[in-house]
């Protein structure tokens, strides 16, 4: 499955990191990197918690369902600053995406809120999945200037 391509905006990738997910500790590594970046770029505590939680949910999905995958973390910068997280795995994919996005559906004894909950925490949520081939998820959240 080819990686998901997003509509390219004027947002420039200012910084970029790759983390391989193939053990439980990698969930923390992704979460910590995201938290460091949100702090470095002065996201507020709500955006920091939302992004750290989203990073945790999505990297755990990779670990639990696919056993391995790749997390990419990018700082986007133009007139606005945003964080983009991409998770790519070649795991089993999601058979019933509609149900998974509706929430309350779990195949791995979790809350079943991983996908539906994460979607509500971010500004942009893109998912591509094919049973037997894998899943790609890209999320973005923009820093708000009040």
């Amino acid at each position: 499955m080819k990686p998901l391509s997003l509509p390219v905006s004027a947002d420039v990738v200012a910084e970029s990191w790759e983390i391989r997910i193939d053990k439980e500790a990698d969930i923390i590594a992704v979460r910590q990197l995201v938290r460091e970046l949100t702090k470095a770029h002065k996201f507020d505590q709500f955006a920091t918690a939302a992004l750290a939680t989203a990073a945790s949910e999505l990297s755990r999905n990779v670990w639990v369902h696919a056993k391995s995958g790749q997390a990419s973390v990018r700082v986007l910068r133009s007139e606005r600053v945003g964080l983009e997280l991409a998770f790519v795995d070649q795991g089993p994919g999601i058979a019933n995406l509609e149900l998974a996005l509706a929430g309350g559906y779990s195949t791995a004894n979790s809350l079943g809120l991983g996908l539906s909950g994460t979607r509500r925490l971010v500004d942009e949520f893109h998912i591509e999945t094919k049973p037997g081939f894998g899943t790609t998820i890209v999320i973005r959240k923009w820093k708000r200037d009040f």
Partner: protein, 125 residues
């Protein structure tokens, strides 16, 4: 990581567990077992879990906290979660997780007062 990484103290008839580190899933599971064993060992009637150091609580940790409360209740101990940060509360509810059935308090002080009153009520019965 071995269990025992989250300190558990006894104050009167209440156990106080303070979560200070970024939790590995395995630590989360070990913590749950540790707390339940400690309740049995000390015959504590109350449990306070202080999460004021946590900047983010994902669904895994939220579920563990709620389940720990349910397990403690089955054993006869009441749980109060204290110190949840504004951003953590906002994130959990936005995700659709309401921590229903779990008692919470703003601060450790307030949590201790709740446990104290509960303990007095119990003794008065």
């Amino acid at each position: 990581m071995p269990s025992g990484t989250i300190p558990i103290l006894k104050i009167g008839s209440t156990l106080l567990a303070t979560i200070q580190i970024d939790l590995h899933d395995t630590v989360v599971d070990a913590f749950q077992n540790d707390v339940l064993e400690e309740i049995e060992k000390t015959a504590a009637s109350g449990l306070i879990i202080d999460i004021s150091a946590l900047e983010a609580v994902d669904s895994y940790v939220a579920r563990m906290l709620a389940n720990t409360g349910k397990m403690a209740k089955l054993m006869g101990a009441e749980t109060v979660i204290v110190g949840m940060r504004p951003a953590v509360a906002a994130t959990l509810v936005r995700m659709g997780y309401f921590m229903s059935g779990i008692r919470t308090a703003l601060s450790l002080q307030e949590g201790l007062e709740i446990q104290d009153n509960r303990s007095k009520d119990r003794n008065a019965e």
